[in-house]
Structures are given as structure tokens and as C-alpha cells.
């Protein structure tokens, strides 16, 4: 007797998949396709006279040394955001996991920042750290630190990384906390009985068991830093000083929505898209193998 449940309906699986596929097509494939299409043309803002230029938009970008600077800045920024974000939230999650009294309160408070829109995060941090007038900037200056993100590129980078990390900590925290809670107590207790110190227990048991979560979060955080941080940049540094915080996605935004140069902006988005595809492939091929599920 056949025990498996078999659906003989040929159409049903497709029908069930349709809504999700439709959303993917409308909100991903169509815009992405349009960006690719646009990247082969130049046109005026109102779309009057479209001319096919082949790969000119791409060659123009690669002949521009500032575009390469933007690459370096993007990688530095994304790595800083991912590493800082993951470390801080892991620390917070480990702490929160141990707390017994008022645990709910801590957890709730830590999740709040995720509900704040990136642009608002930017404004908030820009205001706190605005030289000479920002509350925290004045405090830093009083401590003898020469804080000036308007001219000092390290300060500016620190500022946008802090803002971007702060926004993402809640998300990371949630996943780490869930990961920590799924680690069997018995393993940790056994190690404790064997005389392993808390630090050793963390590095030999907890951290390896958390690796699937960490890996997932690494991918998510990289993508976040690459794509979703332009509002933060726009409201804090606008890519400055010089071009020291001018990340790729912000440059895409500026080119399209400030200069209405849709051809170049399309080419930039296509390049950005390929970088992220590549990064994700690398992460899944190499990092994934080191992850213990």
C-alpha cells in the first residue's frame, strides 16, 4: 500500500508557487532587467532622445579612478559593518542569554533600533556627532579628541559604520539569541563539570555550534552594508569628506536621482549586482564548508 501522499494535480504546485514567483518577477527581475537595458543607453532626464551606446557607460566608469576609490571604500565599509555588527551583537546576545532578572526588558530594548528607518538613524547619529554642536561631539572634544567627521575621513567612516551597525544590531541579536537558546544545556554543563572555563566553553562549544547562524548573518550583513545603507550615508556625510564614505550604492543613488544620468546609474547597479552575486557565491562555496550544521 502506498504510504506517501501524492498530489496528482499537475497545475497545483505551479499555482501555489505563482504568488511568490510573481513577486520575484515584478520586484526583482523586471527592475534588474530594466537596469541592464538602461545601462546600454544614454538619454536626457525626460527620456526624450535615447541613444544606444553599447558598453560606453561601463568603460566610462572603469576609466574613472574615483569609481575604483568607491570600490575600496565599499569593501572597507562593508567588512567593518559586518565584523563590528556581528561581534557586538554576539556579545550582547551572550550577555542577554545569561540574564535571568528582567530578561524580557533587555531583549525588547535591544530589538527596538530595528524599527527605525535608515534615514532617521542617519539624522540621529549625524546630530549627536555633529562637530561643535552635537551632544556627543562636544563630549568627545572635551575629552581631548579632535573629532571632525566633516574633514577627517577616519572620523567620517567611524560615524557611518557606527550608525549602520547600530541599526543592524537588533536583527543580529535576535538570531544569535535564538541560536544560543537552541544549544543544549547538557553540552555546556558537561564541559563545566570537566573543568572548562567559561571562555573555553564559549570558543569550543558555543561558537562552533553557532556557526550556521553566524554564517547566515554574515551574508545578510554584507548585503545590508552593500545595499541598504545609502540613506544613512545621505543623511550623515553625503559621501564625504572627499570621497571617503562614497560607497557604491550611494553613488548609484546620486547618479540617478541627483543628476538624472540613468545610463551610468544603470551600469553601476549592474556592476553592484554582480559583486553581490559573486560575494554570495564565494560565501556559499568556501565559508559554507567550514560551517558545522
Amino acid at each position: 500500500m502506498e504510504k506517501r501522499v501524492v498530489f496528482n494535480h499537475k497545475l497545483l504546485p505551479y499555482l501555489l508557487l505563482a504568488p511568490q514567483l510573481l513577486i520575484t518577477v515584478i520586484f526583482f527581475f523586471l527592475p534588474a532587467g530594466q537596469a541592464i537595458w538602461q545601462s546600454f543607453f544614454i538619454e536626457s532626464a525626460f527620456g526624450g532622445d535615447q541613444q544606444f551606446v553599447g558598453l560606453d557607460n561601463y568603460t566610462a566608469l572603469f576609466n574613472n579612478s574615483y569609481y575604483f576609490d568607491s570600490f575600496k571604500v565599499t569593501f572597507a565599509f562593508s567588512i567593518a559593518v559586518a565584523v563590528t555588527g556581528l561581534s557586538v551583537s554576539l556579545l550582547l546576545a551572550v550577555m542577554a542569554d545569561r540574564v535571568i532578572k528582567g530578561a524580557m526588558l533587555y531583549k525588547t530594548m535591544l530589538i527596538w533600533p530595528y524599527a527605525v528607518a535608515p534615514a532617521v538613524v542617519g539624522v540621529l547619529w549625524a546630530f549627536l556627532f555633529s562637530p561643535a554642536v552635537g551632544t556627543l561631539a562636544v563630549y568627545l572634544t572635551q575629552m581631548g579628541l579632535d573629532w571632525n567627521p566633516r574633514l577627517d575621513s577616519t572620523d567620517a567612516m567611524a560615524l557611518v559604520v557606527m550608525a549602520a551597525v547600530w541599526k543592524q544590531i537588533s536583527y543580529n541579536f535576535l538570531f544569535f539569541l535564538a541560536g544560543l537558546q537552541s544549544i543544549p544545556r547538557s553540552l555546556i554543563e558537561a564541559a563545566a563539570i570537566d573543568g572548562a572555563s567559561p571562555a573555553r566553553r564559549f570558543w569550543t562549544i558555543v561558537f562552533p555550534l553557532l556557526s550556521p547562524t553566524t554564517f547566515f548573518l554574515l551574508v545578510i550583513n554584507m548585503v545590508y552594508a552593500f545595499f541598504e545603507t545609502f540613506a544613512i550615508i545621505d543623511t550623515t556625510t553625503q559621501g564625504g569628506p572627499g570621497s571617503s564614505t562614497n560607497i557604491l550604492v550611494y553613488n548609484v543613488y546620486k547618479t540617478a536621482f541627483k543628476s538624472f544620468d540613468y545610463g551610468s546609474s544603470g551600469a553601476q547597479s549592474v556592476i553592484l549586482m554582480f559583486i553581490v552575486i559573486l560575494l554570495t557565491i564565494i560565501q556559499f562555496r568556501y565559508v559554507d564548508r567550514k560551517v558545522q550544521y
Binding site: 525626460f46 561643535a132 538624472f260
Partner: protein, 436 residues
């Protein structure tokens, strides 16, 4: 306040009533005037709607200038363009070269038999928005220009005369040194660095900013920022930055807070910021003309404008164009323009509005409010008319970035200016190619 509000409600009821009795032609008007400025726009529109019954203007706030222009482009591409849109001055070249998308307003007014006379506007403003044939392409509305602000309390503290503001860069430098001795850390700063320190500097000293008469004569214009005048200017500013008498205050209007919070004693910024300083500053301040270098012959010329103008989209029905023309005639009438100027701090765009305001004693009561008009009411030259270049927002962005590199001592003044020129000219080449 209460009375004003009920008057406005009454106004809209009247407007509605007239709408119901007679099918008025609706005209959509997208603008970027928020807060109190938006209220003033609504007031003007309400008054116009009340005054006649053939047309009904519908104003909509569409976000800041950049957002609104993006919305306008998207709407036009989707065939849903509004009738009137307010576009900031840096978008002027983009609008003007978009053949087929816009209807030049003077041509429109002549077609409907109600011509708008360009001669009634302040020459510097009308010139900025005119096509090469001298006809107005857009309707001057809210123009501002940078002016010099100074903190009178700080001047007194440093032993400077609060009633004789510095006129030249050398005098600013001297004053900043005295202020520094008196313990004031920030002598001079500016908002909108590329607009004030590059564009206005060039106009004020009659230096050509770009070839082809600053872009007014054609798309093949290229920027010329490596001239001696600019090198000297930035060397001077950079020396001031090193001495601590000039503080780079960030892009856009970020530096406004440095002045209004009482950190910086001297400041150059938009004339439109006066209202907010009057409201927020806890000190007495004065307004004067922009600084210049006295060794440059002919300086000071005029300053150039910022702010926005009103554009009309193409292919609207003659009835709509008639209504738009009538509305434009209304906002250019001396009384309406004068009130708009006095309420907002924008420059009087109509000459008669200035006369009217002067006669009312407004300038005596509000000293310094006539500075923008004085700066602009000068016969302009080809160099001082302003700049009309494509991708201007991005060009300004490049200039800000390179200025930051200069003032952070990362590159020399010459290198910085060369980079500005090179990067901007690459963009101008693109703009030329895309608007052929």
C-alpha cells in the same frame, strides 16, 4: 492667527463654491515649499482662486526640490505630468535642454494673448531663466542669494565695531584673528561651499566659471577652475583654515547650525536663512554684502541666485495655458510679489515689488533685508550671469569633495582645482552626448 485661519477656510469654501457653480479648469501645481513657506504658497493660491472663477490652482507639496524633480520626471515619463512644477536653480539646464518636455513660459503667454513682460523682473534673475533668444523659459518665483551674516554680540566682545561689518576677505581675516584672541574659536564659516565659494566667488569677481559664457551659449561648455583667480582664492582660504580663522562647516546648509548656535562669528549663507536666524539665534546679528578681494579690478560685481522657478510642462490644452498665464501674471503683480518677499526673505523678483517694499519702510525696520536686492541689481556681465551647466548637482558635489580634500590638507590647492575641473568636464561631456 485664529482670524487668518478662518479667513483661509472661508477662502477655500468660496473657492469650492465657485467650483461647484461653474466648471473651473483645474491646474496642478507641484512645489517644494514646506512649513511656513508652504502656508504662504497656499495663501497666494487661495487668493488667486478666490479672485476669479475660471481656473482653480491645486497646489501639492511634493517633497524637497530633488524629490519633487524626480517625481516630475517620473510623472512625465508616465504621461501624468502636472501643469506647473517648481524646480531648483541647479536643475535649470536639465529642464531647459529637455526639448519637448517643457513649454517656455513667455512663448506660452504670447500664444494665449496675455504676454508676460520679462522687463519687469530684476535683470539678474530674468537673465538666469532666459533662453539664448532672451525669452523667459521659466517663471521667476523664489530666488535667494548668499549674503554675509555676523554676530554683533561677538564683535562687541572682541572689541570690533558691530556696525561696520568687514567688506573684504582681508578684513574678515583681520576680524577673525581678533575674535580668536577674544576666545571665539570659529571666526568665519560658510554654508553651501560650492555655491558660495566657487559660483558666487566667480560672479562677484567677474571670473569666467566655464567656457561658452558659463554654459549659456551651448552644451559644449567646459569648466575653467584652474585660473589664477581661483588658485589665489583657495590658497587664501586654505591659509585661513590652517590659521584657524576659517572653519569648513560641511556640505549643504550644515554650517547654518554653527552660526545660529553662536559657535561661529561670521558666516556666508542664503538670504533665505534670515527668518530662521531671527527665530532661533540668541544674539544680535547683522547682514551685509558678500566679501571680495579688493585687488581684483571690477569687484564686487553681482552675486548669483539660488532658489527655484516655476516650469510649465508641454502639450497642455490652451485653456490650461491661459489659466497658468493668468496665475503667473498674478504672482508677478507688485503687491503679491512684495508680500511674498517680505514674508519669506526671498529676493523681490519683480522690480516694482522692491520699490513698493522700500516705500513701506520695511527695509528701515528690518535692516539688511535689502542686501540681496542690492547685490543682484547690478548690470550683469557674461561672467556674472550665473552658470547653466548640466549635471550641476553632481558638479557641486565634486567641488565639495575636492574642497574637503584641500582643507584636510590631503591635496594641494592646485591639485584640488585640477581634479574639480577634470571630473566636472567628464560629466559635461556626458551631458552633451545625452542631450544631442
Amino acid at each position: 492667527m485664529q482670524i487668518k485661519k478662518s479667513a483661509m477656510i472661508l477662502g477655500s469654501i468660496f473657492a469650492l463654491a465657485s467650483f461647484s457653480t461653474q466648471a473651473a479648469t483645474e491646474i496642478t501645481f507641484w512645489h517644494s515649499m514646506e512649513g511656513p513657506l508652504g502656508e504662504r504658497v497656499n495663501e497666494i493660491v487661495d487668493n488667486f482662486n478666490q479672485k476669479q472663477s475660471d481656473y482653480k490652482i491645486k497646489p501639492t507639496y511634493k517633497g524637497a526640490y530633488g524629490e519633487s524633480m524626480n517625481a516630475g520626471i517620473a510623472a512625465f515619463r508616465a504621461g501624468q505630468a502636472p501643469d506647473i512644477i517648481q524646480v531648483f536653480e541647479v536643475g535649470t539646464a536639465t529642464m531647459m535642454f529637455s526639448k519637448g518636455a517643457i513649454k517656455p513660459i513667455q512663448e506660452m503667454s504670447e500664444e494665449v494673448g496675455n504676454p508676460i513682460d520679462p522687463k519687469k523682473f530684476v535683470p539678474g534673475i530674468a537673465g538666469y531663466y532666459s533662453e539664448p533668444n532672451g525669452k523667459l523659459a521659466s517663471m521667476p518665483f523664489n530666488s535667494s542669494t548668499p549674503v554675509f551674516y555676523y554676530n554683533k554680540d561677538m564683535f562687541e566682545k572682541a572689541g570690533l565695531d558691530p556696525n561696520t561689518p568687514p567688506k573684504t576677505y582681508a578684513q574678515i581675516n583681520e576680524a577673525a584673528k581678533k575674535l580668536k584672541e577674544a576666545g571665539i574659536e570659529c571666526g568665519y564659516t560658510t554654508s553651501w561651499p560650492s555655491w558660495v565659494l566657487v559660483e558666487n566667488f566667480a560672479a562677484l569677481h567677474n571670473f569666467p566659471y566655464a567656457s561658452k559664457n558659463n554654459g549659456f551659449d551651448g552644451l559644449d561648455a567646459r569648466i575653467q577652475l584652474t585660473q589664477d583667480g581661483f588658485v589665489k582664492h583657495f590658497n587664501y582660504l586654505n591659509q585661513m583654515a590652517k590659521d584657524g580663522t576659517f572653519t569648513y562647516g560641511g556640505r549643504g546648509d550644515a554650517a547654518n547650525a554653527l552660526f545660529s548656535s553662536g559657535k561661529c562669528a561670521m558666516f556666508t549663507g542664503s538670504s533665505g536663512s534670515r527668518a530662521s536666524f531671527t527665530k532661533n539665534a540668541q544674539f544680535k546679528f547683522g547682514i551685509s554684502t558678500l566679501p571680495y578681494y579688493e585687488d581684483v579690478p571690477g569687484a564686487p560685481q553681482n552675486s548669483v541666485i539660488g532658489g527655484a522657478s516655476l516650469w510649465v510642462f508641454n502639450n497642455k490644452s490652451p485653456e490650461v495655458n491661459k489659466g497658468i498665464t493668468e496665475f503667473f501674471q498674478y504672482i508677478a503683480s507688485p503687491e503679491v510679489a512684495a508680500k511674498w518677499h517680505q514674508d519669506t526673505g526671498y529676493v523681490p523678483v519683480v522690480k516694482e515689488a522692491y520699490e513698493l517694499t522700500k516705500a513701506s519702510g520695511f527695509y528701515d525696520k528690518n535692516p539688511g533685508t535689502d542686501v540681496p536686492f542690492i547685490q543682484l541689481n547690478v548690470e550683469t556681465t557674461d561672467e556674472s550671469r550665473g552658470v547653466r551647466l548640466g549635471f550641476l548637482p553632481q558638479i557641486r558635489d565634486i567641488q565639495d569633495a575636492e574642497m574637503e580634500n584641500i582643507f584636510a590638507q590631503k591635496v594641494s590647492v592646485e591639485e584640488g582645482l585640477e581634479n574639480m575641473q577634470k571630473r566636472a568636464n567628464e560629466l559635461l561631456q556626458r551631458f552633451e552626448n545625452s542631450n544631442k
